[in-house]
């Protein structure tokens, strides 16, 4: 660990205090039958905090703020999920939280050395293709889930970090231009465009149109960095052309969308409260009933509705914890994404990775929250780290690990080998 001890301990202490304040609220205001349930929840949350604080010490990182922010949001989500409909430790969510933390460390280790990843770029494209093949062959007929019996996996979630790594690029890569007809093009960019077309086709076929905006956001982030290469070199003409093409594609996509999408686009939730507008109308009523400070942890009614802990989790939190808590949750996630602006990524490659991750998270959050508030059609996309779901949590953890990797260099004791005379290469 770097000589940042005091700052590290202070950060950890405040995370712990914030969780204790939430647990105190559960204790005094929660809906539980036995105090044992609250004590168990408190024990698990505090233990997870302490264990992760100790584990982090073994990683020689330059910054720890994102780790602390991650732990803050993960344990917040564990408390939220354990309180829906009555206080009881959400064991499944606890396991996925731990898996997310492990995935975060894995993402950090894998993405730390950007030169190594750049040399293995073709394998990343192969991984993308393997995941696409898995979706095509292992999921059911036009489905997005792989059923293993004891658990289900959503392979399209695992495609997100792989696609972000494919979209990330380095200055060296952007210099490798080849002449096709009369254009100087970068091969990698053409392969990437082919990949996004493949993913769009796949998502359309699987009827998982909710995830489509996330992939397009990741691709556009990567594309923007290629046009603004190496930095702040905007080509307004190209950006305008891309904007116009995107608008035409969106209009065409909406026009020719499948019937179930058209239903969601045209539904009047208050006139169709028992049909297509059921979830959204109940979600809006729950937000209104919650008010600023909520009904109290475990006192909500929304847990009876399908997907209350995943797709409409924002409304569930609003109902039980209040709008202020729900807004705080959004602020914590956004702050985690803002931190790379304070400690900028150390290379062009890591900058593109960080932008891709931020783009994906912001789009996912926007789709979920605006969908719950009936501002856009309901998409069924999860809020990173808050909604229940193993695949989503693990990939979100991995993606945050990729962001953390951008801030800490590959650190080894400095050894300078004297080059032999004339051996410049």
């Amino acid at each position: 660990m770097y000589k940042n001890g005091l700052s590290y301990v202070t950060s950890c202490l405040f995370v712990l205090i914030a969780h204790c304040a939430m647990l105190a609220l559960v204790l005094f205001n929660g809906n539980y039958t036995e105090t044992k349930d609250v004590v168990t929840l408190a024990g698990v949350v505090i233990s997870l905090d302490l264990v992760y604080f100790i584990v982090m010490l073994f990683y020689k990182q330059m910054t720890y703020s994102i780790d602390c922010m991650l732990l803050l949001i993960l344990n917040m989500s564990l408390i939220f999920q354990s309180c829906f409909g009555g206080v009881e430790l959400a064991k499944k969510h606890l396991i996925t939280c731990i898996a997310a933390l492990i995935a975060c460390r894995l993402g950090y280790i894998i993405c730390r050395n950007h030169t190594l990843i750049q040399t293995k770029k073709k394998y990343i494209f192969i991984i993308n293709l393997i995941i696409i093949l898995c979706i095509l062959t292992l999921t059911g007929s036009r489905s997005i889930w792989i059923d293993l019996g004891f658990m289900t996996i959503q392979p399209s979630e695992f495609l997100k970090p792989a696609f972000i790594l494919s979209c990330s690029t380095s200055i060296i890569e952007q210099q490798k231009k080849t002449k096709v007809l009369c254009f100087n093009v970068v091969k990698e960019n053409i392969v990437l465009t082919g990949l996004i077309i493949l993913i769009v086709g796949l998502q359309w076929w699987c009827r998982d149109l909710g995830s489509l905006p996330t992939f397009i956001a990741i691709y556009l982030c990567g594309l923007m960095f290629r046009f603004c290469y190496p930095k702040a070199k905007f080509s307004k003409k190209i950006l305008v052309i891309i904007g116009v093409i995107s608008a035409i594609l969106i209009v065409l996509a909406l026009k020719f969308a499948p019937s179930y999408v058209q239903d969601r686009l045209n539904v009047d939730i208050w006139n169709d409260k028992s049909g297509n507008g059921y979830q959204q109308s109940r979600a809006l009523i729950a937000i209104a009933e919650g008010g600023w400070f909520g009904k109290g942890p475990g006192n909500g009614n929304l847990h009876n509705i399908a997907a209350s802990d995943t797709d409409i989790v924002f409304s569930s939190i609003c109902e039980e914890w209040g709008l202020l808590f729900a807004l705080m949750m959004i602020i914590v996630i956004l702050s985690m994404l803002i931190l790379p602006l304070i400690n900028p990524p150390r290379s062009y490659f890591h900058t593109t990775v960080t932008t891709g991750v931020c783009g994906a998270f912001i789009v996912q959050m926007a789709l979920n929250i605006f969908g719950s508030c009936n501002m856009i059609p309901f998409t069924g996309v999860t809020i990173p780290f808050i909604s229940q779901g193993g695949s989503s949590m693990v990939t979100s953890g991995f993606m945050i690990g990729m962001v953390i990797a951008g801030q800490s260099p590959v650190f080894k004791r400095h050894k300078r080998k004297r080059r032999s005379k004339g051996g410049a290469k």
């Binding site: 205090i17 910054t63 050395n113 702040a232 914590v332 304070i342 400690n343 260099p409 410049a424």
Partner: protein, 139 residues
């Protein structure tokens, strides 16, 4: 909802708020400490041309004529994006990123080379020396 419960909720929200602010403040402190640490990781090196010094405080540094290059050398003999300096484990490497006039290290032309202290890098008409940082040097 009783006043006590509202107060408890408000306290919990304020504590979360404070926690987020503390973490953002910590990030600023880490940035300050990070700058010092970077120079150590980069082997405390800097690039020098007569009358000018460029500290090497980043993982990737672009040298070129273009306004967006990190080290800008304003001469037509230098390409817009001429060379890229990278550091790994304290060892600096220079790479030619498609320049016209090439890179010369101690007189011999290279595409890519590891740099040692006091190596002379020739980019176009410019001659830059890589050396250990000396106190009080500025760009």
């Amino acid at each position: 909802m009783s006043t006590f419960n509202v107060m408890l909720s408000a306290i919990a929200i304020i504590m979360l708020d404070i926690c987020v602010l503390v973490l953002i403040f910590s990030a600023y402190r880490e940035r300050h400490t990070g700058k010092k640490r970077w120079s150590k990781i980069g082997g405390d090196m800097e690039l020098v041309e007569p009358g000018k010094t460029y500290p090497l405080e980043c993982d990737e540094i672009i040298i070129g004529r273009h306004a967006s290059a990190d080290i800008r050398l304003m001469d037509m003999s230098v390409s817009r994006y001429h060379a890229l300096l990278t550091v790994c484990n304290g060892v600096w490497t220079i790479k030619d990123i498609g320049s016209k006039s090439g890179i010369y290290i101690n007189g011999s032309r290279v595409k890519q080379a590891r740099l040692c202290e006091n190596d002379i890098i020739k980019l176009g008409k410019y001659k830059l020396t890589i050396r250990k940082r000396r106190n009080g040097n500025n760009v």
